[in-house]
Symmetry: C2
Subunit: 447 residues, 2 copies
């Protein structure tokens, strides 16, 4: 392992800065570049070597990490913008360099990078498709989740670097070569995209029900409706405006990932009604000027005032019934998010057990994903016992969601995800037995 080999790096945003400075802290020489000057200065202050230009950051670097925000930016950084020009990193990297693309991009884009490298005679570069997950704190800690795909030789040469940035059990080498890592990230983001928005939908609904936000939070965090996202975003939903400007994760970030899901799904004629509904609501938030603010601020599309100001005035029994409606809303949506993620993963030939192992302890995790998701995977693998008997019943989940939808309607509360999920569960019930498990919902998505 060339443990202290110099590393080139471009894209010193919230995630990239954490990753690059972590590598510096662990003794690596990292030359970083970003178009935004203040980021370069911060990087220098943290012990990094600021690069005077994008191209310079690649010269003589046996290892290089791209962590820009989008595929468009990656294309420009890698290959340059001018037609047939040589203004990209790949034109400067030394022979047999290892190149990690850590941005979240469509798998089809990662594949196109591999092809273009060959076309321009840089097939010598060891290219790895390795998107990351975990947020800025874990980036700076070197404990990210990483989903890596690529040729065996490339993965071998880059392994020490992938390990340096990820937590011990959070580095997932995904079989399938270039594109597999990006597809795995995408399947995970199906959960993230839906469960970020459901936080707003659930807390907004709860506020209209007259529930105080702290009781809602307790009910969710301690009960069956727990998910990583709703716990995480729930804090900032309650904290309100001050926590959203600038916030921790901008709406535009999850919107970008959501658009990767829906555009990739369109290309393979795969329906993703849940992620698609979420995307349209995110676009609405963007239209209202919330793009640069924290995605927790999406709660404003469901409830206008601060949810923290709501005081619960009903008795214990009535309150428990209202909390149950919120829990049922969440459970129904989680079941559909889980089904959409797993069925889409199967469609793009991902190893489902690996997706489950990865997501269950990551930002997409939920109790429902753990249990119902495992059951769906069992069923998709041919074990018919998954479609009945065990665990939650489709009938009960649908009924609970239907009651939540009905009450949201009474309160004139928009409930995009709730109603999309309800339509899908009703379709699932069409072909399901009376005692069908909630896992059977995945059959509606499955091609």
């Amino acid at each position: 392992m060339p443990s202290k080999a110099p590393i080139g790096f471009c894209g010193l945003g919230a995630m990239g800065m954490g990753m690059a400075t972590h590598l510096v802290k662990t003794g690596h020489q990292v030359k970083g570049f970003d178009l935004y000057r203040p980021s370069l200065q911060r990087f220098e202050a943290a012990g990094g070597t600021p690069s005077p230009s994008l191209l310079n950051s690649a010269v003589d670097m046996p290892f290089y990490i791209v962590m820009v925000a989008t595929a468009v930016q990656a294309q420009s950084a890698l290959f340059g913008t001018a037609e047939g020009g040589d203004e990209g990193i790949v034109h400067k990297l030394p022979q047999n360099a290892v190149l990690l693309l850590c941005s979240t991009v469509p798998a089809s884009y990662a594949v196109s990078v591999e092809r273009e490298l060959k076309e321009i005679g840089r097939g010598d570069i060891f290219f790895i498709d390795s998107p990351v997950s975990g947020g800025a704190f874990r980036a700076a800690d070197g404990t990210l989740s990483i989903m890596a795909g690529g040729a065996t030789a490339a993965l071998e040469k880059g392994m020490w670097l992938l390990e340096a940035m990820s937590a011990p059990k959070k580095l997932f080498v995904v079989e399938g070569g270039i594109g597999a890592g990006s597809n795995m990230k995408m399947a995970h983001q199906v959960l993230a995209a839906i469960q970020i928005l459901v936080t707003g939908e659930a807390y907004g609904f709860a506020a209209r029900l007259g529930l105080d936000a702290e009781s809602v939070r307790k009910e969710i965090v301690e009960g069956e409706a727990w998910s990583w996202m709703v716990e995480d975003r729930g804090r900032r939903v309650i904290a309100g405006l001050d926590a959203w400007r600038p916030g921790v994760s901008a709406l535009t970030i999850i919107l970008k990932d959501t658009s990767i899901i829906t555009s990739s799904a369109r290309l393979c004629n795969f329906p993703v009604p849940m992620a698609s509904a979420a995307e349209q609501v995110y676009f609405s938030g963007l239209s209202q000027g919330f793009g640069s603010e924290d995605d927790a601020g999406m709660v404003r599309l469901y409830y206008p005032g601060p949810v923290a100001d709501v005081k619960c005035t009903v008795d214990k029994e009535a309150k428990a019934a209202k909390l149950k409606l919120v829990v049922n809303m969440l459970i129904g949506i989680y079941v559909c998010a889980t089904a959409e993620s797993i069925a889409f993963a199967q469609r793009v030939n991902l190893p489902l057990d690996q997706l489950h192992e990865l997501a269950v302890d990551a930002a997409g995790g939920s109790h429902v994903f753990r249990e119902v998701g495992a059951q769906m995977i069992k069923g998709l693998k041919g074990d018919a016992s998954a479609w009945s008997g065990l665990g939650k019943r489709l009938e009960d989940v649908t009924q609970g969601l239907s009651e939540a939808a009905s009450e949201a309607q009474n309160l004139k509360c928009p409930a995009f995800l709730t109603n999309t999920a309800l339509s899908m569960l009703m379709l699932a019930k069409r072909t399901a037995d009376k005692d069908a498990s909630a896992a059977t919902a995945v059959k509606v998505w499955k091609s």
Copy 2:
């Protein structure tokens, strides 16, 4: 025919005022009541007899018309609010009176009125469930569409009055007794609810594409993407703010009808993803304070500025391609609206040919409903030739809609109905042949 028999009337809103004054103009003695004083004065000025109270308007009236806004208002007017009291119209109506409930209400509510009349010993009243459609102008003209259900004897006694308010070929007696008229109205409103919102979605998308609104309008009105709603609402979308305050048809009106659709659908476990998506967007409009304004103002949720201000700057060919995207968006959504309306009508046992005859020339009409709708009905009746060969192909409609969805995404334009429809068409393709007709889409909804 008791042609000049006196008529009691309650609910002098936009529709009710037109209906009541039309009856006055044609020589009937009409005693009308409304809680809103200025309406009573306007009614008197138009030659009507204002009633000093709700109950007084029913005394000695052999015919009575209820045209209040909601089922809740109807219940209060008919039976009074106090438990076991006698503060409702039905307690004052003379023996064997004919009672027309013309409000748009859930069929289940109309059925409950029939039951309650019997329970309180007023089974002598000839009750007719007869919602209307056509707008305030046609109400004042006596040329409404009316969907009437009830016992044969009641329909016979009330026929002259139904005829007095409707156009010659627009009075539809729906088989199935009380509730059938309301169900027919509901099935029609599935088209209306979706096609009012699609006007905003299409014009908003077109504006983001850089198309001038007049070209869009011409393309829609003269081409295959025509629908009554998009033509009608399109005018007011283009006219802008001045046409929305107060406007012709308030957002709250179509929202009320949409909620009847989705709540009735929930009760019979029938998925209505299109109407449901529309309802959530309407709730968003309501949250933004647009409830009392014209529903054409929903375009603001898709494009912030006045669409009439957009100037098209691209060449003829590029413009034609952009217009085609808008047309494809509309066609795809019409196909799904048509499928949802017809499949739901079948679910509640409505005569499908009658729905087609009624809606094709009413506010729910579109070229797609005329052609693809007729084909769906043929197929549902067992003629398998409807599922292939003829007319539009499922593959083409899906492809066109997918391209529109892709471009809307590029433009960051919310496209709720587009994406809901796309998911449904993708599900339809799962079980369809390569050359399947667009009509096969109905199979996804069909239970």
